[in-house]
Symmetry: C2
Subunit: 526 residues, 2 copies
Amino acid sequence: MITGKNYIGNLLSSIGKRTFKTFNPQTNLENEIVYTEASEVEIEQATSLASEAFNVFQKVSGAKKSEFLNEIANEIEALGDELIQTYCSETGLPEGRAMGERGRTVFQLRSFANLVKEGSWVEAAIDTADLSRQPIPKVDIRKMLVPLGPVVVFGASNFPLAYSTAGGDTAAALAAGCPVIVKSHPMHAGTGELVASAIIAAAEKTGMPNGVFSNLNSSGIEVGVSLVKNSRVKAIGFTGSIRGGRALYDMAAQRPEPIPVFAEMGSVNPVVLLPNAAQIKGAEWAKTYAGSITLGAGQFCTNPGLILGIKGDDLSNFIQDLSNEIVKIEPTCMLHPNIIGAYESNKAKMQEQSGLETTASFSKETSKNYGRQAITTVEGATFLANTALHQEVFGPFSMVVQCENVQQLEEIISKLEGQLTGTILAENELQNYENIVSALQNRVGRIIFNGVPTGVEVCPAMVHGGPYPASTDSRFTAVGIESIKRWVRPFSYQSWPNELLPDELKDENPLNITRLVDGLKTTKAL
Amino acid sequence: MITGKNYIGNLLSSIGKRTFKTFNPQTNLENEIVYTEASEVEIEQATSLASEAFNVFQKVSGAKKSEFLNEIANEIEALGDELIQTYCSETGLPEGRAMGERGRTVFQLRSFANLVKEGSWVEAAIDTADLSRQPIPKVDIRKMLVPLGPVVVFGASNFPLAYSTAGGDTAAALAAGCPVIVKSHPMHAGTGELVASAIIAAAEKTGMPNGVFSNLNSSGIEVGVSLVKNSRVKAIGFTGSIRGGRALYDMAAQRPEPIPVFAEMGSVNPVVLLPNAAQIKGAEWAKTYAGSITLGAGQFCTNPGLILGIKGDDLSNFIQDLSNEIVKIEPTCMLHPNIIGAYESNKAKMQEQSGLETTASFSKETSKNYGRQAITTVEGATFLANTALHQEVFGPFSMVVQCENVQQLEEIISKLEGQLTGTILAENELQNYENIVSALQNRVGRIIFNGVPTGVEVCPAMVHGGPYPASTDSRFTAVGIESIKRWVRPFSYQSWPNELLPDELKDENPLNITRLVDGLKTTKAL
């Protein structure tokens, strides 16, 4: 049952004065439940509890953390239909998407559970002593990864489950041994509270310390600002707009003790349509891309918002085909009136740019809050001269840039901001475009051959992140088990008594993990 | 031969107007050679060359990078006595130290050469496709670490070889595939130029692109500021003061495209003397610590500047012993009049603090520029109330804090700023001080049992770094092969043609490296 309250550790609390409701974009009506925004007192309580919980939680074994994470997954599944219905009522997204995203969320939690249960992720390294070494004896040094401390996770508007309350950031931080405080996204506060109740139930069942998790409601920016500035908070995870992510990054960098912010932000996900591909498979790609651009009403961070090709008949045909295909697709509901408001306004601003031509625009009547797709096109020189054209329009929108030649194509790619993905569509020609591929590689975190950027597989080889502003720190991924590295630091013990070392570093290797011992990987005891 | 010029890529250049000389603190005289500070034009040239070199260098094989790094080591060794004499004339340090540091520098270069020659450091991961998967097929994703781009390294005053021109930061960045621009430290510009000439010679011999390395002279802050703000620069390495490191961090964070700064800064390296240790081995530790505090005139980042004990006769005896021992040691020359000036002034400021008692101070006449050691002591409550007492005095200085009880000791530890190291001296009592150990672990990057913090072994298990302000990003170490991670980011290829993948990710595994294939570590081909 949803109460509208905050979870301050294991307790429900609503002492604040500010309240708000969520909105159902399908019915175009507010939902009934009233949420109480977290007060300064509750923020103090949550961070203080998290700090105390960290003293215990940082030493909890991988096996116990694994139980906790698996139990969160169980509890989320046990929420059943209430979770799915709440999700749909707060997002306008269909049930299938809700169930798919729940599956992804549970899969992520179980992946991290497996990772920490096995245990080798701590990258244990042991360099044994050599007391006879000249001129000075060599001491015994042992290293492993340890958690940073309390982490604040900002829920994402476009992934109420997989990148919010118990999403990738939270799962990774808990797996690392960091308590988590979620600043719940106001558009889906009910979904957030349900998932929070699952985490709290799991924490209690598996004996985790009170404060290992808190969930704070908020409608404005105040709760987030207060959390980022709180000295007990040691790292931030964020998925959202460039403006929002950069503001948090700046605040965190200006603290007396700066802390790491991993913000996964905007991306137009450039797609390069090479000449043979345009000629041979232009019509096919047009159909595929009409689907990718409108998938989920274009509300994915990997939505293809920019298509780059070489001017000519083949590209003109592709634009025509894409325009024809995209208007055949029925628009779908966007997440919130604010999201569709921003979409329509950003689309209009883009369409006002000099030299931009709109080649397709869904013009039929739709239900309220449905996102009507558009395709635009512009000359390469115009695109180069006007960086307003480089910005993301979050929604079912894409722009085809008609480059004069390969040199201009390369120049455009090299002048793009950092991106999550870059795609190349090619037919037996990729080997002739080494400079194009290189330029694209330097601007992105993931490069795709003959496919679409939408669809982010959760697997160890996935990189979701990229040069700024795709993310604030390209050295980490936000998706997959490697994302745990955002929340840990290496720590060394020198000449430490064996019996007082953590199990990961003891001579006997009781956890049977893979360690680097005197330069060689092994699971053997010393 | 030292020319006093900058290396802009492979060419010597001195078009700037500002000049300076280095100083010999032993003779208290300026050295003869005139150095020309890099001009804005030369900074543009160096960053532009680095950017172009990156296009080539990022794809150079591990085997070739290994040749380059080993050749740098050879060329440094070939500089012979000129390097040692220049080093000594610019630092006042003895020949033995110069030779030891050269050995460490060469060892670091060869360690990184071995790492990239073997090749598994790129953390290759492959998740193979499953086209029959329902509801959507699984695509092929392959990941590896790739270099960030041009890196700027700031030479350190206290390590003219091991943490300067071809020091740990440079070796790690070059190994990663990042071109390096060194902002040479003005106190040892001659040593810097000699080492730069070795790097350039090695680059030419092994066919590295022009611009893979540049060396810029500077006497003020202008060259460094200009480099950090330059959009072609993608990361910063710095070793030095908190004020300097924080200024660079702030500048980098405020860029339109923020970049990572790894600054290894100040630390007082707290040492906890537990009661049994004070009672049983107090005199022994006093002697050992008198040596550690005065080692290299106290000019190490791991110098023990703070000793914490429980008030009582044993601690009083320890303070007396330490005071007696330390004045027996002959002072040695500090690096520069500015360094000894800052030491004397910071020591005096500390000694003026209310409640601080000086128990030992080397008072005999010494040569000019020699650092005269001092031991001070203060009550725990006084220390807690005055954070001025928590600051580092860079030089042969230490403070013993007499805590009322274990609770106060724990409180003091938990209120310290982040530190590189923490040490515990104990005799069959460590198991009774779990909270003390935990509090210390949360404030440091390396914890030492019954030893001294000075002496940083270069090995995979070493962590040199720690919570702010020990370093600006505790998630990385500045020493050891793992420090390469500061300069790389993960990168994914999706459905990429096998023949166009980098060797690290090809089906055949031609480099025979260890990869994570569908979740299992293996050196096998697909």
